[in-house]
Symmetry: C2
Subunit: 104 residues, 2 copies
DNA sequence: ACCTCACATCAAAAGTTTTTGATGTGATCA
DNA sequence: TGATCACATCAAAAACTTTTGATGTGAGGT
């Protein structure tokens, strides 16, 4: 089953403390890059690097407005990530501790 | 809020394709190290390295039985990971797109 | 007591991600 | 048109993770 490479990409987006701090800022609504950068220990290009990873994973989407780029959480990307996590961590009840031949 | 370092640790466990393949094997029940290693492109010490990361994250637990180490998914570790993911990706409804002064 | 087996730990090498500073691009404004 | 602003991209360096092979450890068997 499973496309591990693709799933790994979603979780890779979530495994850096700076990206988690960015996501936390986005929970309260859409923000533009300069607003996101301000409270963080990140250069402009550093923020841009992390935003690309977040957008590529599907959990964040961006929107251009003139010179500004606005970022926000993607409801569908988030739902997908949660569904994948559930699938990965949920035991396969079809065969939990049963004899493979008689099924008991 | 949030302890980003601690959350990152859980997602770090999930962001490697080999660890996702190990978790997939564990969905069908407890397995010992040698059984987990067999179908994978991993040396003995390589498996041991990944198992340590999975156990340290809390999503897998181990049990000794004589010379063997058995690993299985931790229900509580999994529930915690899912809860953290939900918390991180769910918009903060207290202030979604409202005027900060009047709340409308 | 000694040997072997199953696994953990270690240190060095190989591979990957992140940071940094410089440069590129496209929108806006004078 | 030319300057500036907001952000993206690039390449090199720094920081981290993973792999590898060697060695350590503790349980069992003889």
């Amino acid at each position: 089953m499973g496309n591990h490479q693709e799933d790994a990409k979603v979780f890779k987006a979530l495994c850096d403390p700076k990206r988690l701090a960015i996501l936390e800022q986005l929970r309260s609504g859409e923000k533009c890059a300069c607003v996101l950068q301000e409270p963080m220990d990140l250069t402009q290009s550093g923020l841009s690097y992390h935003m690309k990873i977040l957008c590529d994973s599907g959990i964040v989407v961006s929107r251009q407005e003139g010179k500004w780029t606005h970022y926000r959480l993607s409801a569908s990307g988030g739902a997908w990530a949660m569904e994948r996590l559930r699938a990965i961590l949920t035991p396969d009840t079809e065969q939990e501790d049963r004899c493979p031949s008689c099924g008991r």
